[in-house]
Amino acid sequence: MATTSAGPVTRDRAAAARPSVPSCHGDAGGEVVRDGRPVVALAGSPNVGKSSLFNAVTGARRTVGNWAGTSVEVGTGAWRAGVLDVAVVDLPGAYSLDPLSPDEELTRDLLVRADPAERPDLVVVVVSATDLARTLYLAAQVLEHPLRVVLAMTMGDVAARRGIRVDTDALAAALGVPVVAVDPRRGTVTGLAEVVRTALAARQPVAAPPADAPAAAAGSPEVVTGDAFDDEELAAADRRFAVVARAVAAATHRSGTARTDWSDRVDRVATHPVAGPVVFLAVMWAVFQLTTRVAAPVQDALDGLLSGPVSGGLRAVLGAVGLGGSWVEGLLVDGLVAGVGMLLTFVPLMAIMFCLLAILEDSGYLARAAVVTDRLMRAVGLPGRAFLPLVVGFGCNVPAVSATRVLPNARQRLLTVLLVPFTSCSARLTVYVLVSSAFFGKHAGDVVFGMYVLSIVLIIGAGLLLRSTLLRAMGTEDLVLDLPRYQLPMPRLLAAVTWMRLSAFLRTAGGIIVATVVLVWALSAVQVTSGRDAEPVQGSAYGQLATAAAPVFSPAGFGDWHATGALLVGFVAKEAVVSSWAQTYATQEPGDLHRPGGLGASLRADFERSSGGHVTPAVLAFLVFLLGYTPCVATLAAQRREIGRRWTMIGVGLQFALAWTVAVAVFQVGRLIP
């Protein structure tokens, strides 16, 4: 039975659509000239080594061209099989005789739809020892038809390296046809030539189909439609698979030292319901420890360079050209150099982080993490497939919102879009690192790791909250994952992925930061009070806006205008939080940033003041709020596109309420702890 991209083809349609089989007597490239020689067709699944075999048996005596009336390329050539000259046709790769592509359609037509006189005299079905079950399906299907069949098995050496040995005699016994191991890359095809010659010379015209094989269907006149067609199609494929499974079981032997066993053993732990999450947390903890500890000294050195010699040098140059102390110096030195320079100090950190994540991804571990995440989500009643956009969200929330389109159910999509902002994107990482380094020293990595754990907790909590309130009626959907094998990461790929992510981060983050630096600088330059404030910038439009909003955060211990201003800027984009701090503190006290650690000292002083001495809970509350509230306007735009304005605003409210509540709880509980 045939299927096409438009759906199953019923048998009567198939018969009506039977092509006039391309003549084998033409002289166009890709066609066989029947000159009395037997015609041998090579058939097999894609990437099975069929064309290598074709090249090996024909050598230079071959042509390749489109088959008449089609755009499908077919190779033809001459092969001296022992003492016999045969014409060889290299048929297009096909997984089965139920075609899903023009290539497969031509293979099906030439093997089983052509007039019997035009069919090949013998079919060599090429199968791979590394993927025996998949490639045997075509063989099982070909065996249902009145054709002489020989199996050629490739890639035995590759399979052996993986600890798999395929017994060709057992395979031949199971299928009832000759099976020959070949290695076309090394030219080892003489055994095949002998078997082909013998099979062609034999009086037995065709191979007997396996006893339980389904009846050959191509060309059958009866009409089968609808569900009956589907059921019969599945039943026929099922019977073929029974043949395949038995043949594989009879012929395949795996050694105990196979690499897949190692991979399986690791997977038993990595995807275990209890051990899996523990391993996942341990791996991520190690990633953040490595990131912060290795990057910290480089980051400090860069900070010292930019805030010292670079800023000082630029001031000196501007002073020399008569612009010292002017607004130009303010914008360039205290604005752009401070803001963009602060971003540059994060380059080593981001590079290490992206590289480590690329290692996890390329090794295959992140796929296991997806299994762990998926299981966790199922446990709390969230849609299983939602793990994908949420995992993507740990890189960036914007594509994560777009990625929710993989969810087929509208309400599942809505729920997931509302949860994406709680995933801790890499832009927030810069703030975590700066703040945790300034306040927690050698425990900075632990704090950063804790923020990611909290992110997961917030996702689960918000998900449960939404499912028990606004989104009660929602089904769940099972998801099956096909895990890739573990492998050693490729350095070249790691370098490419790391560079791609890093350069993209710098490109866009740089643009955002320059824009916000200019905006903050302009707002800071506009004085709206008459100098009553303790600090000049506080009297500016920027400072007054931040000061007006600051009381909202007093219960959380960070009701200071600097922190509030950074959060206002962070509403636009989290990349700009650190630069806005660097900028406003530099403008306020230019000397402070001319030495390493100056920004950290200023932050400590302000948190000390705003928290009434409870610095640690206030800082943690600040980080919690930063994690939980609106990630950036780009995410809002993406949300509005996916779920509309109303739900987007509900989401903003939910994020703010949850972030504020948890932040206040952290501070209020934390201040009670001595």
Binding site: D131, E361, A367, L388, C396, P399, V406, A496, F505
Partner: protein, 101 residues
Amino acid sequence: MTPVPATVGPLRAVLAELDAGAPTLDDVARRTGLDRDVVAAAVHQLVRLRRVTSSVLATTCTDGGCGTCPAGNGCDAHGAPAPAGSRPVLVSLTVRRRPGA
């Protein structure tokens, strides 16, 4: 290895386990007693028969950081980010419900 059940062929056994919510193909292999490669081949065939849909899942965004993708650049037609390379790829499989089933 457990023999293939006589009453249900391997293809339908795999389909039944997918339908029953087996989380991974390794689990399907354990539950059916089939060789892991036979299970993978069966799934491949079920996808071809349109009984199961298969989609590649990228677990991280190739474009990297937040600011890097304000318009979802680099995402495929479904909005999912393209996989980072041609190496390990996570594939999700979903059993297709037929009308009336």
